[in-house]
Every structure is written in structure tokens, then in C-alpha cells.
Symmetry: C2
């Protein structure tokens, strides 16, 4: 890749960046775009649709200041601890790159320029500056990591203290309930916990196989929504708008009612069938009278046979991934292996088709396939755009599809809740990104990329040290500025924007719009990746540091804005994302040390090489220390926190009501009684309710 | 080493073996040897000293049948679960070598002889027999391992069910108690457990720094014993026997009394000083009202800061290694590192001085140093004994000193109880044995032993396959028969026998004799090693299998006998030795697979090589399965067992008394009130008792 093409890409991205900022400033003020840009505030009722003002066609920067303004407490209130942790990841990176940027631009950059871009050997003395900078930045990052880990751990405890009683705090999930002759799973669970945790046991809900029933219920709900919507809309309109749900174009309302009644009847029959003991899964949610009681049952080994009565913390009720429970052991086991293999293949071979498509976008290929373009392509500016920007656009677009794919794959992996699926997807995307964009792209940027490097790990440090040449700054700047545009387009939520626009133009009714959920698995790896890139190459390519710093400023503005106005958290992991961020940073530090050791060895600075070796060792020891010191807070709440919270609840008069709700909190949604029309009498639904509720 | 010398060694050892059997049969029947050979039965009063019978000079085999007879229940009653597990290790090996022996002698041995001892290549088809035998024996050993692990796990639970309430079942050890301003450790512990485990907390005992006081108390006890003994003995005798304890030869009894009084006073002062809060260690034994309560506190994370309030199961009260608690954090940390290093050095370099000394015993060296021996050395039988047997005798003698050294080192490693020290020493001796006798000796037996093998792990499998040549059978038989003699000499408890004999000849009084404790760390590795050797080389050296089978028959007789008559268990780990035995067996299986793969690759049998690779993988997976399935039973008792046991106790009227004892069970022995003479009035001891007892 030529430097001129790189510069072109940097330029285009910077221009796009400014353009997008201005566009957003104007578009967000248009009332008919509020549903796209400010759905949260619309739902909360804090924003009114203003109409007919000139001001809304003039770009403003007030929203930027608004994004800076809210304090952590407000963010916590609106987006939970997960949002806070996500923002702290960005501020953490901001701090790191302010520090590294000052060292990089004012110390290392002059040395590099003076030393003729690291290509000559006769400036060994100057390399000691790099050596010192590596030690300094490592120490700074480690200090920050320690403080952040401690702070977030503390926040986690605080958050727990201030949270209302929640069903998942009182509940555990028990799996591999052993089968006993004659007794149902429900009886077995009840007897076991009554015997062994008599003082704290409250109730349980056995899980049933409901995958078929669930699809019926979901379809019925969709249909009901549709009908309900039609009824409320103008009858005139109903006739005009084509109904695509049924084959008949004009259906009398009575028909809908009949279909709904039939569906309701079928669902009720299905629910009764599924609730029978034969459809029981050997797993149950077991609730306790106190958080302490639940933790006790969670931590203690239960059974003489340790493969039975496996306990784990229960997820939040609406976070449960119900389909998973229906799978048999063999299905789970097979799908796990298949998916691990699929991820590996996808990660390892993703670049092959992308690079092929990128190859098609060079000038001669384009001229061959589209001869009529020859004239346009001969213009210098067009050819530069095509060689410099088009390949990166293709790469970025294909990268966009990875997070959904990874989430899709993770959903088959046997996770019991959505947040686990997202966390697993996040991990997959991180490794995908590290492998593909980091290693593969950086390597392919130089001439050293070949499989042999991968196959001979001894050589990899040397190769890395050689592979990131003097042009690294430009190259990485290109990656970072691509990131700018990429992050900014998030502001526009391009796809939902288009869908919503098309929908409304087809069927201009006041549809209920949904606040989209925040998807950490999609955004965390992207943000992490730039931090990783910056830390790893900071001493080789100091020129990129201001670019990366700017990236994080942008990210800060944008994410504080898609949190306050757009996205809503659908679950709360209590900051469980932080350990992942921590480990990734440690990984990049050790990678940086590896590259530095390779470089110093290459430059024959033996003393510096040996003096650097303790650094990764100490970094890993530091990581081990952090793991020991902070990880337990992230896996379970300690006894002193639980008992304190339990004591506070003892005198709360609302706890009676909470316990009543707790008993049915983990009811499978597919087994909940459904009522589509007011004409149904209650006698039909009430017996069903009692048969599916947990036996207390 | 020549084959003739090896045969000589095998012959000598076999002869010694028979001789020792006969000697033992006679010596054990001599009444004045009862204290050496039958101390347990003497103490239990089940054996009377018979005198003046001719029968006791005639060797008999009745004791062998007696050793075979007792059932597992009797062994459990006399030696606890640890004894049972130890014996099951031997019967397990017996089963393995009966099976392997039949395959080895009737299938593999003929193939090897027919194939000219593996030296020719043109019998590739026959190597498939080896291939099949490896699969067969691996499957057999894995099946047995699974059954044993399950059986011992079950026994462990049964043993727990049938055991009387024991203080350690109700108690946990808490370390790293955080310091709070003004409050003593005792107050902090009390408040914490009252707050967080209010329903189950019973009492606690804070640990104090008592290392200095302990040595004073120990000396005083020794002195008191001496004086007490003197008083009871004939006054005439006292004058005759030289008193080596005090410098004066003739001391009036009044002087002793005075010295004892002074000591008693000093100890009381010391106890009062040590009991002050300033001498508190930040650790405490915390007792609970039920086993379930103790387990709850043990398993649950306690503190917001996970480095505080660390919990672990309490050892049995008399098993506590008190000196350890006195060490500061820095001392513990340093001693850990120093000792790990010392063990490594000892293990790696142990053979160097031994081989040097062995080198001195060759003929020319002996003739050079002791010219007058020339005539004797020229006799063929003498020279064969010297070259064949003396080196092995030197090796075995030096190996004898290893277990005590390892125990000594382990005692500084920060273990809180004697059983942990022994377990750690056992582990060290196992690795020492594997490294020194297994690798080093087997390698040095061939010409291939050099450091380069160790430094290039890729080559090690090939080298191993080459290094165990056709003579391996003889060579290993030599090691095994040496083991025979070695194990048999255990019967004589040579050193205590000598000591006791010398003592009685110097001072022919009726001393209280002590039943020696069973030392698993000394015997387990020895027995394990031969199992390991046999499994690893069974397909290369089938001739050794009968030798090893005989070894285990011997071991069975001897250990059932050193359990029933001699040794007494001083602590009970509840079969915690089994996982170690299991892992060692898995190690030897995988090592065998490695050697087989190396051998087949060497013989250019590619198909067999590839077909063998899944075997170690499956073995390791099997190990992982066993670890998951059974290990939890060995680390903690599950809830259902604890609650069952607790319920049984609820109606037991003796529990009140048990709780009273529990409160002071973990009192440091150095802080217990001492009374040497009846003349002391109780008013002096009673306030001390109350100040050191736990605050309930």
C-alpha cells in the first residue's frame, strides 16, 4: 500500500468525520427523526417534538457539551453499572493516551526523526529513550489498571447495596437434578432443599421443554399486536393498506377474532401438556428467603456425586435464554464443539474472501470489468480514492457483519442468559479483531506476512519488530481514522434509520417504536482494539498517538450521547465487562514488551534486551495479583455485603410482596397465561395459572 | 554395568530376602523384642510376653497368614481410612500386575524372544501385539482407577457418617483478619462472625505467638518426666546412674523441686505475657454450632477485600503445626522460595555425589586405596559382590535419608498441620524418586544418558525408546529386587531397634515406650514407584512383571503386619492420599504411551504411531473426568452429608459436653495450664486458664 493512498484514506476519513458531525447536528433536530436519534428521551417524555423553527437547519455543537455534562451518577441511573464501566474504559484510554501522547510526541518522535526512522544502527544510545518510555508507560498503565479495577469493584459493591431487592439475588439455578424413581423433578428438588437448606429455602420453579410452544406463542403475540393495531387505526386505512399476514386481502374483523380464539385455545392446551412432569427438564430455579441463603446454596458443594445438583447464580428473570434448556445433553455437547470449530474457521479465514474482493478494486481489474469507467479512473483523484479508500471501506463493511455472526454462534453454545451470550460474543469478537485487523493487517502491510511466521513462534517477535516499519505511524493512523468514521456512523444507526424510514413511507401510522438495546459485544471490542493498537505500538509509531487520543475523545462524545438518548440497557451484569478489558490491556502490554525485546535484540542491544525481560514477567505477576485481589468481587458477592443487605430488608414492609412475586418470577414466559380479548372469561385462565405456578 | 553384576545383585537380594524373612520370624517371637516388633499390641494389651519356649527359636509362617487375614473393617478400625487407602494402593497394584503379568509373560515375552529382543526390524507384524497390549493394559488400569476412586470416595463419605463428632468438623481456620483501630483481633473476629454468621457461630480461639514459650514448656516437660522417673526408681539406682541432664553428678531431690517450681513460675508469667493482645497473630480458629455452619463459612467468600478473612478447613486439634503461625508474612514468603529452590537443587543434583562414591567402589580404585585388599579382591565372588551389589547398597542407603530431609524442608513451607507437611513431603519424594531413580538410573543404565537429552525435549521420547534396551528386564529386575530387601528391612525398623537396644543396655529401666507414628510420606512413594516402573515398561520388559508382582505380595504382607502390630496413625486425612496415587498412575500411563510412540516411530511403524496418539489424549481426558467427578468429595463434604450428620446429632445428649470441649479444643498447647507437682495450689492456675480460654 502506497503512502499517498494511505494519506488519501486519512484525508477522506477526516473529511467524512467533519461532514458526519455537521449532518448529525442538523438531522437530530428534525422532528421526524426523533425516533431514530432520541428514542429514549421520547419514551421518557423528556423531549418534545418541536416543529417549524429555522434553528433546526443550522448545525450546532450544544449536543456535544450536553454529552460531556452528565455525571457518573446520572449515567449510572440511566444506563446502569455496565454503562459506567463502558464509559470508564473510554476515559481510561483517554488518560493512557494523554500520557503516552505527551511522551510519544515530545520525546520519542524527535528521537525517531533524529535517528532516521529507526533504520540506522548508529544511534544505539537513543534507543535507551525508547527503553525508558516503555518502562514508564507500562508502570503508568498498570497503576491506572489497578485503580480502575479497585474503583469498579467498589462501585459493584455500592451498586449492590443501593439496588432494590431483585429476584436474581435470591435465586440460584440448579442443574443435573438426579432422577429418583417415581418422583417428579419438582418433588425431588423440593425434598432436597427442604432437607438440606431448611432454614432458608423458599420455593422453586422447574423448567419445562417449551421450544415448540414458544414459537406458537410468539406468532400469536405478533398477530394480536397486528390486529390490535388495525382495530385502533382508521377503518378506512385498513382497507387501503395491503395486509400481508393473511393470504386474503380483505378480511373481516370477525375472522381475526376467531383465529385469535383458536390460537388462544391451542396455546392453553399446549401449556397444559408442557406443564406435565414428562416434559420437565432436570433443572430448576430455586429461590431462598435471603440473599445469604441463596449464596450459601450456591457456594456449597451439594451432592455426594459432584456431577449432580450443580448450582450457579440465576440470571435476571428477563435475561434468561429459555430455548437453551430444551436442548438435550448430546445436542448441547455437539453444538458446543461445532460452534467452537466454526468460530475458529471464521476467525482464521475471514480475511481470505475480503482480501480477494479488495484485490478486485485495483485499477486494472476495474478497467477490465467495467471498460466504460476508463475515463473516470484516469482522473488522479478518483484513482486515489479507489486505491486508498475503497479497500478499507470493503474491509470495514465486512467487519460490521462479524459481531452479529458471533452473537448468533454464541447463542447456540449453551449459555443460559442473554448477557452471557453477549459476553461470549464480545470475547469472540475481541479475538477475531486482534487476530484479523491487528496481526493480519499489520503483517500484510509489510512484506513479511507469510504463514511461516505463524508456524514458527520463535521467530514471531523478530518478525513483528521488523514488520512494523517506519511507516507504521501512517499505516496505523489510517486504521484509526477509519475507526473515526466507523464510530461516527454509529450516531446515525444507519440500518434502523433506513428501515424505519422505509416502513413509515409504506405505512405512515404511529407505530409503537422500541428503544434499541445497548449491544456491548459490538462496541466494546472496537473501542478496546484502538487502545490495544496504541499501547502496543506507541514507542514505534508515536505519530499515531494524537490520532488515537482524538478517537477516544470522539468515542467519549458519541457513546455518552447513544447511552443518554438512544440505547437502553436490557440487562445488568454489574460491570462484568471490566475483567475482560483488564486482561486485554495486559495482553497488549505484554505484546508491546515482546515487540520491544525483538527490536532491541535485532539492533544488537543485548543489555537493553535482558533488562526488558523482567517487564513482561512483572506485568503478568501484576495481573495475577489483580486477579486474586479483585476477581472474587466480580464472581460473587461476599458474606458481609449479603448479610448487611439482608438486615436492611428485614424491617422493610414491602418484602412480603416481593416474596410473593419472587415465587413466580422465573416462570417461563411461554407458560404464562395469555389473554388476547376482553371477552374471555377468567375461569379458563385461572386453573392454568395455578398449574404452572411453582409449588410453594 | 555388566549383566553378570546385575544377576549377582538380583541373586544377593533374593537370598537376603529369604534370610530376612526367617530372621524376622524368629526375632519377633523373642519377648525382649516385643517393644520393637509389636508395640501396638503391647500397648493395647492384646499380646502377652511369653517366656522360655523352644518354639520361639523355630521360624514360622503363621504371622504371614495373620497379616492376610484381617478384613478392611478391622484395618479401618485400627489404622483409619488412611491405612485402608494405603493398603488399597497395594492391592490395586497387585491386580494390575496380575493382569499385566499374564499378558506380559504369556504374550509379549514370547514375541520379544521370537523377535530377538526388539533389535531386529523385520518382525513389524509382531509389534502389533505390543500395540494391542498397550491399549488393553491402559483400559484395564483406567477401569480399575475409576472403580478405586469411586470406592474410596464412597468410603470417605461412609467414614464421615460413622465418625464421632470431631472438633475439626465444626471449625474453620480464618487467616488475614483485618486490623481495625483499637479493637483486638479477638474482638474483630467475634464481631465479624456474630454479624455475618449469627445463626451458626459458636466461639473462636485467636492464635498467639508462642514459639519462645513453647521451647521453655517443652524443656520443662522433659525435665519433669526425668525427675518423675527418678523419683519412682530405686534411690540406690539414682546414685549409680550418671545424670547427664544437670552438670552436678549428685543432686538432692529438693533441688529438682526448686528448679521445677521456678520453671512453672516462669512459664506462667510467659503465658500471661503471650496471652496479651499485642502477641496476637491475625488468625483464629472459629467454631460453629453445626458442621453445616462451618462448611457455609468455609465456602462463602467473606469480605469485600478478598485478601482478608481467608478461610480454610481446620485440621484436627493435635495435628496443628503451631510454630508456623509465629512466622511473619515476610519470613513465610522467603522460606517458601528458599525451600522450593533447595528441593529443586536436591532433586536435580542428588545423584552427583552418590555416583562419585559409587565410582570409588570399583575394583581398581579399591586396590589403589587399600592395597592390602588385593588378595581378597582377586576372588571372583568378592569382586562380583563389590561391582554388583555395593553400588546399589550405597544408592539405597543414600535414598533412605531423602524422606526425612524432605519432611524437614516441608515443615518450613507454611503448612498449618502435620498432615499437610507429610503430604507435601510425600509429593516431593515422589518427584524426587521419579526423577532420580526412574529417569537418571534408567538412562545411566544405557549409554545414552547425557544432559542434552534433558535440554532437548523433542528427542526425549526417541531416546527413552532407545535407552531401555533388551536388557531392561534384567536392569529393572535389579531395581525391583533391591526394593524387596529395602521393603523387608522395614520389618526390622533397624534404626529404632538399635536405638532402643543401646538405650536399654545403658540404662536398663522400664521406660515408657511410644508407638511410632505411621509415616506415609516415606512409604507411599516407595510403593508407588514400583507400580510406576512396572506400568511404564511393561511392554518393553515383560520379564520384570513377576518380580514386581512378588514385590507387591511382599509389600502387602509387610504393610498389613507395620499397621496391625507396629505403627499407629497420628492423624486422619480421610484418604486424601488417593488423588496423589491416581495422578501418579496417570502420569506413568502417559509416559508409557510416550515411550511406545517413540519406539513405534523409531521402528518406522507409522500407522501404529498415529493410532497410539489418541491413547494419551483419552487417558488425560479420563483423568479430567475423574478429577471432576471425584475430587470435590476429597476437598470438602457436600451439604447433604453434613445436614444428615447434623440432624443425627440433634437428639444426642452428649452434644452439650462436646460443645463445651469444642470451645477449648484449639487452645495452643503452650498456653495450657501446667502443673508439675501436687503441692501447687489451684488459685495460681485458675486465673490463667480463664485468660487463655476463648471468649465465648
Amino acid at each position: 500500500m502506497l503512502v499517498s493512498a494511505l494519506l488519501m484514506s486519512v484525508g477522506i476519513n477526516s473529511c467524512l468525520c467533519v461532514l458526519l458531525f455537521i449532518l448529525y447536528s442538523i438531522l437530530r433536530k428534525q422532528p421526524h427523526n426523533y425516533e431514530v436519534f432520541l428514542p429514549r428521551r421520547l419514551v421518557a417524555g423528556t423531549s418534545k417534538r418541536r416543529r417549524n423553527k429555522v434553528a433546526r437547519y443550522i448545525p450546532s455543537v450544544r449536543w456535544i457539551w450536553k454529552s460531556w455534562r452528565p455525571s457518573e451518577e446520572e449515567l449510572m441511573a440511566s444506563s446502569g453499572l455496565d454503562g459506567v464501566v463502558f464509559m470508564r474504559m473510554i476515559t481510561f484510554s483517554l488518560k493512557v493516551f494523554l500520557f503516552a501522547g505527551i511522551i510519544g510526541v515530545f520525546v520519542i518522535l524527535p528521537v525517531n526523526v533524529f535517528g532516521d526512522q529507526l533504520t540506522q544502527i548508529n544511534y544505539s544510545d537513543w534507543l535507551w529513550v525508547h527503553f525508558g518510555a516503555i518502562y514508564l508507560v507500562t508502570a503508568f498503565v498498570c497503576c491506572l489498571l489497578y485503580l480502575e479495577f479497585r474503583y469498579i469493584g467498589m462501585k459493584r459493591i455500592e451498586h449492590f447495596h443501593s439496588s432494590k431487592p431483585q429476584p436474581n439475588q435470591f435465586t440460584i439455578l440448579v442443574r443435573n437434578v438426579p432422577s429418583s424413581d417415581g418422583a417428579t423433578v419438582s418433588d425431588t428438588v423440593d425434598r432436597f432443599f427442604r432437607e438440606n437448606h431448611s432454614s432458608t429455602y423458599l420455593s422453586h420453579v422447574v423448567i419445562h421443554r417449551t421450544s415448540k410452544l414458544r414459537s406458537v406463542v410468539d406468532n400469536a403475540k405478533k398477530l394480536y399486536k397486528k390486529v390490535h393495531h388495525k382495530k385502533q387505526a382508521d377503518p378506512q386505512r385498513v382497507k387501503k393498506t395491503p395486509m400481508r399476514f393473511f393470504s386474503r386481502k380483505d378480511t373481516p374483523e370477525g375472522h381475526y377474532e376467531k383465529v385469535l380464539q383458536e390460537l388462544e385455545h391451542n396455546i392453553r392446551l399446549g401449556q397444559a401438556e408442557v406443564s406435565s412432569p414428562g416434559k420437565e427438564v432436570r433443572a430448576a430455579f430455586v429461590s431462598f428467603k435471603s440473599r445469604y441463603g441463596a449464596a450459601m446454596a450456591l457456594h456449597m458443594p451439594q451432592s455426594v456425586n459432584p456431577t449432580y445438583w450443580l448450582t450457579e447464580p440465576a440470571p435476571e428473570p428477563h435475561d434468561v435464554h429459555w430455548p437453551f434448556f430444551s436442548a438435550s445433553f448430546m445436542q448441547k455437547w455437539l453444538s458446543k464443539i461445532v460452534i467452537a470449530f466454526a468460530c475458529l474457521i471464521l476467525t482464521a479465514l475471514f480475511l481470505v474472501p475480503v482480501v480477494l474482493v479488495q484485490g478486485l478494486t485495483n485499477l486494472s481489474a476495474l478497467e477490465y470489468f467495467f471498460p466504460f469507467l476508463t475515463l473516470i479512473l484516469s482522473m488522479k483523484i478518483v484513482s486515489q480514492i479507489i486505491t486508498g479508500y475503497l479497500p478499507s471501506l470493503i474491509l470495514q463493511t465486512s467487519l460490521k457483519i462479524v459481531p452479529p455472526i458471533m452473537e448468533f454462534l454464541s447463542s447456540f453454545q449453551g449459555h443460559i442468559c442473554h448477557s452471557d451470550i453477549q459476553k461470549s460474543a464480545c470475547n469472540k469478537v475481541i479475538w477475531f479483531t486482534i487476530w484479523n485487523v491487528f496481526f493480519a493487517t499489520v503483517f500484510s502491510g509489510s512484506a513479511f506476512y507469510k504463514l511461516s511466521v505463524i508456524l514458527d513462534p520463535k521467530e514471531i517477535l523478530f518478525k513483528l519488530a521488523v514488520a512494523v516499519p517506519a511507516q507504521a505511524s501512517f499505516f496505523i493512523a489510517y486504521v484509526v481514522t477509519t475507526g473515526w468514521t466507523d464510530t461516527l456512523t454509529e450516531l446515525f444507526r444507519v440500518v434502523p434509520f433506513m428501515v424505519s424510514y422505509v416502513k413509515r413511507s409504506l405505512e405512515p401510522t404511529e407505530e409503537e417504536f422500541e428503544v434499541p438495546p445497548m449491544r456491548y459485544h459490538r462496541d466494546t471490542p472496537r473501542v478496546l482494539f484502538f487502545g490495544l493498537l496504541g499501547i502496543t505500538y506507541f514507542f514505534l509509531a508515536p505519530l499515531i498517538l494524537p490520532f488515537i487520543f482524538l478517537y477516544f475523545v470522539l468515542a467519549y462524545i458519541i457513546y455518552r450521547n447513544q447511552f443518554i438518548n438512544v440505547y437502553e440497557p436490557k440487562y445488568e451484569t454489574g460491570g462484568m465487562f471490566w475483567p475482560m478489558i483488564h486482561y486485554t490491556m495486559i495482553f497488549s502490554l505484554v505484546l508491546m514488551h515482546g515487540i520491544a525485546i525483538g527490536l532491541f535484540a535485532l539492533k544488537k542491544m543485548e543489555l537493553a534486551t535482558y533488562l526488558l525481560i523482567p517487564l513482561p514477567v512483572f506485568t503478568l505477576l501484576f495481573n495475577e495479583f489483580c486477579r486474586k485481589r479483585f476477581m472474587p468481587i466480580f464472581t460473587a458477592y461476599p458474606a458481609e455485603v449479603l448479610t448487611k443487605r439482608d438486615r436492611e430488608d428485614q424491617n422493610d414492609p414491602r418484602m412480603g410482596e416481593f416474596y410473593d412475586n419472587l415465587v413466580s418470577a422465573y416462570q417461563d414466559p411461554a407458560l404464562r397465561p395469555l389473554r388476547f380479548s376482553g371477552s374471555r372469561n377468567d375461569s379458563l385462565t385461572s386453573p392454568l395459572l395455578s398449574s404452572t405456578s411453582s409449588e410453594v
